[in-house]
Amino acid sequence: MSKQDTGARDIRFIIRRFNPETDEAPHNKEYTVRVEPGMTVLEGLHQIKGEQDATLVWRFSCRMGVCGSCGMLVNGKPMLACNSQILHLTNSVLTIGPLPNFKILRDLVPDLMPMLKNHIAGKPHIVREDFDPALTPTDEYYQTPEELVRFLQFSYCIKCGCCMAACPTMALDLDYKGPMPLAQYHRYNADTRDGGFEERAKLAGGTGGVVRCHYAGECSNVCPKGVDPARAIQLMKRQLVAGYLGLAKQQEPCGTIGPDPNARHREGVPPPPPFTIDRK
């Protein structure tokens, strides 16, 4: 992205519109917006909705690139609308559409449920055989900073779906799970606190799993959080092949440090609130 002229100017917004109740197929609609320097695509859409067309629909929440709700196709590239300044993208025309490779619910709102179902199927949480981390949340784990770095970048994923929209394999392969769920399988597999590799390996190594990835790398190029899903998928390929050939290191999940028996409540500090869930 190169910085353009910083003065305010009129920008033509060409927006893909689709209402499944009234339209047979998506169509484009044009709007002209007076764009000030620093104005984001999301703000441009708000201006259109407030002043020109109240029927325009899109999804948004945090406005600061954290929630991952406002992923859309802007000038042919998947990105977060809240994170992209209009004058950094264009001087004249801005095309906006819903994220490709998803069913369109309405206008700029894609149906993210297939992606999220695959994500949930991979148990995106710490899986332990010895105890349930959800029921003993106060225990600390023995994990070194180096072990943390192995999965840290993958944990920055905000599930916006931009990687799924950019993936060429997603566009063709009906079974492919896509970069987001697969990268998240690796995020937990690479976590030394976790013991759920076998369960996730069945998904990642099954139909539509990691071997379908052609390593085009577009998922990593478009990720607004700098996550590298393509790398996660290649690492998981290596892990799966090594596991199948019996070459993988067998490692138990790291241990935990229980509550300190010598710890005493400090005077003047209010007691912690009671647990909101039943503990075993």
Partner: protein, 120 residues
Amino acid sequence: MRETRFWTWHLLAGIAILIFGGLHMIVMHLDGILGWFNPAGGSALDWANVVVRSQGFLFPVVYIILLGVTLFHGFYGLRNILLELGIGRCGRVTVNILLVGGGIVLFTIGAVAAIKAMGV
């Protein structure tokens, strides 16, 4: 895990092709320099050399292995390409059956030819 299994064998088949295909290329195309496995001298495709190689144990085995790994490697790659064309579940089953069936038929023909050549 099925795809992991297939993909691992796809990689191993690629390595086997490098080794056995490399041996084939050396014997066939470097015959003028090395003359390996060409006891009668001259070209590697001279009848006498072909007969000697076919009647031994090593070459029929090498060619049968090479045929098997090449068929698996090629057909698995073709299957991946076909499955990515957006065909439905029925089409995918058909592709799998055709490729597995075709592979078995071609392997049988090739293997029988190599074994029969031992008795020439």
